[in-house]
Amino acid sequence: MARVAATFAWLTGRRLAGIAVELWLPILLFAGWWVASSGSASLYFVGLDSILGALRDDWLGEAGAANVLPSLRNLAEGFLLAAFIGVVLGTVLGLVRPLGNAVSPIVEFLRSVPGVALLPIGLLIFGIGSEMKVSLIAYGSVWPILLNTIDGVRSVDAIKLDVLRSYRVPAHLRILGVVLPSAAPRIMVGLRTSLSIAITIIVFSEMIGSTDGIGYAILQAQRNFEIPQMWAGMLALGVIGYLLNIGFRGVEQLVLRRHRAMNTTPGS
């Protein structure tokens, strides 16, 4: 019993030390920000206390939900659309090599178009509203998913595929059962990159011709010289982005657990 307790104490001690190492700097910076900015007379660099107050009043709760929820919904729709198109198209282009090679210059060109440059075009085609934002997000986020899917699909163990083919396993089973799961880690990398891109796109797509959203709220705060609200918005955006990334990493762990299990050979 005593040994268990001792081990427990040792483990938590190490754990706590590990957490302390990771957190001391952020806490110090935050405290430093508070102290440096309190009582600040500067127009643009206002006190942290007023920023946190604005965060509480305008960004959490109902007022915040009115802006945050539409953004998140558009983000989710656009991202899922990009994921679907990216994986499907990527699988096709990856497996049918001649096709993939033939369209590669077009893909290279289309993905080099800066997402922001598409904002005027998006406004033109879709006008104002959610379709414009969802389409813009989908267009901008699809490329990492597409390219990583192509890469992942092409690097599937050729021997496995040949064995399946010689046993006359039908194509769709080959793809769903072996190709995609093998490519899963690469696809996840692509999805992770796309998430950051999608977050960037949703913010700037809400800065023109929009009636709600996080980007819209930050810009409006700036226009009306509501400086604490503007800073609070940027802070909120950082938190939301961070949480989304953590959430995604959790999903990634889940999905890839099966992959790891599948690929460990007996005795290794």
């Binding site: 127009l43 011709g209 929009s210 009636t211 226009r223 400086i227």
Partner: protein, 323 residues
């Protein structure tokens, strides 16, 4: 060996950044005139500023003006505050909002003023010809495009709706650039647009229908464009500010008595083609000095439609010039 190139590059970068960042305007030109950088927009409402420059009103008062086009009044205020501009054209709403938030700007002069009759009003609310909207009252529950949210356009549209018996709280406003609003209405993306010239006339010619003239209905005779300066600059350069205000008033008075001159000014100061200039409703100018009373109407609307929560001390935000 490897550190040196990095250090050199760092030094170079730092120099470039510093050079790019700081370039304060000289206090006096060689010929004794005071250089002033003025932010403006490329619309006709700033015609008195352009005329003051081209007709020599500035030069006569020893001011060397450099006019720069800025996106909007609100966008010009940061430039005023960091000294890149000495004066900037803005609309009264942005100025009052800024004053409300204790941004240290002060109003020094007036540009164009809103007309007091529908026939001479350059503003309009446009709808599609086949739209069921007959008057401002029917805008309740619809989407109206304005060129900036919480602006003069928005509150005057709301006022127009309320005055004609509608419910202004049920309207949705969306922000679009002026040239695009006509397009958006024609395509049905928005139900109506609060336009200003030259798009008011272009919109009507393009098949849209005018249902109201919001500015003259809500705030007749109020300043449509005002000129701002930073408070400390105004306090330290009183003679420059006075000279600027006099020049603008002189130009405005002249344009008020010779309205056709506005078209001539517009040929060089705006990108509007001359034939369009010939057809549009011109902004109204006069030589009146800036007065607190003229801004009260705008401020009351702002309080009513909750752009600001409480009245602002107008006297404190105006640099009154002597008669």
């Amino acid at each position: 060996m490897i550190r040196r190139p990095i250090a050199l590059a760092g030094l170079l970068a730092l120099t470039l950044v510093v050079a790019a960042c700081g370039s304060a305007a000289p206090a006096q030109n060689a010929d004794g005139s005071t250089p002033i950088a003025v932010g403006t927009s490329s619309t006709l409402s700033n015609a008195s500023l352009y005329y003051a420059d081209s007709a020599g009103a500035f030069a006569r008062r020893k001011l060397a003006a450099k006019l720069t086009v800025v996106q909007s009044g609100a966008a010009a205020i940061p430039l005023l505050l960091n000294g890149q501009l000495q004066f900037a054209a803005a609309d009264p709403v942005s100025a009052i909002v800024a004053a409300n938030k204790n941004i240290p700007v002060t109003v020094v002069a007036t540009g164009s003023v809103t007309s007091d009759a529908a026939a001479t009003d350059s503003s309009s609310i446009l709808v599609r010809a086949d739209s069921p909207i007959a008057s401002a009252r029917d805008l309740a529950g619809r989407t109206v495009a304005v060129n900036a949210l919480k602006s003069l356009a928005e509150i005057t549209v709301m006022s127009a709706i309320d005055k004609s018996g509608g419910d202004s709280s049920a309207v949705k406003f969306v922000e679009l650039p002026l040239p695009q609003m006509v397009d958006a209405v024609s395509r049905g993306q928005v139900d109506a647009a609060a336009e200003n010239e030259p798009y008011s006339t272009q919109g009507v010619h393009g098949g849209l229908r005018k249902i109201a003239t919001p500015l003259s209905e809500a705030v007749p005779g109020s300043p449509q464009v005002i000129y701002l300066a930073e408070k400390r600059y105004a306090a330290e350069h009183q003679s420059t500010v006075r000279a600027f205000a006099e020049a603008i008033a002189e130009a405005g008075g002249y344009l008020g008595q010779h309205p056709d001159q506005v078209r001539t000014v517009g040929r060089t100061s705006t990108a509007t083609p001359p034939d369009v200039l010939g057809r549009i409703v011109l902004p109204v100018f006069n030589g009146d000095r800036l007065s607190q009373a003229s801004l009260t109407g705008v401020m009351d609307l702002m309080v009513r439609y909750r752009v600001i929560t409480a009245p602002v001390d107008l006297a404190a935000m105006i640099t009154q010039q002597g008669p």
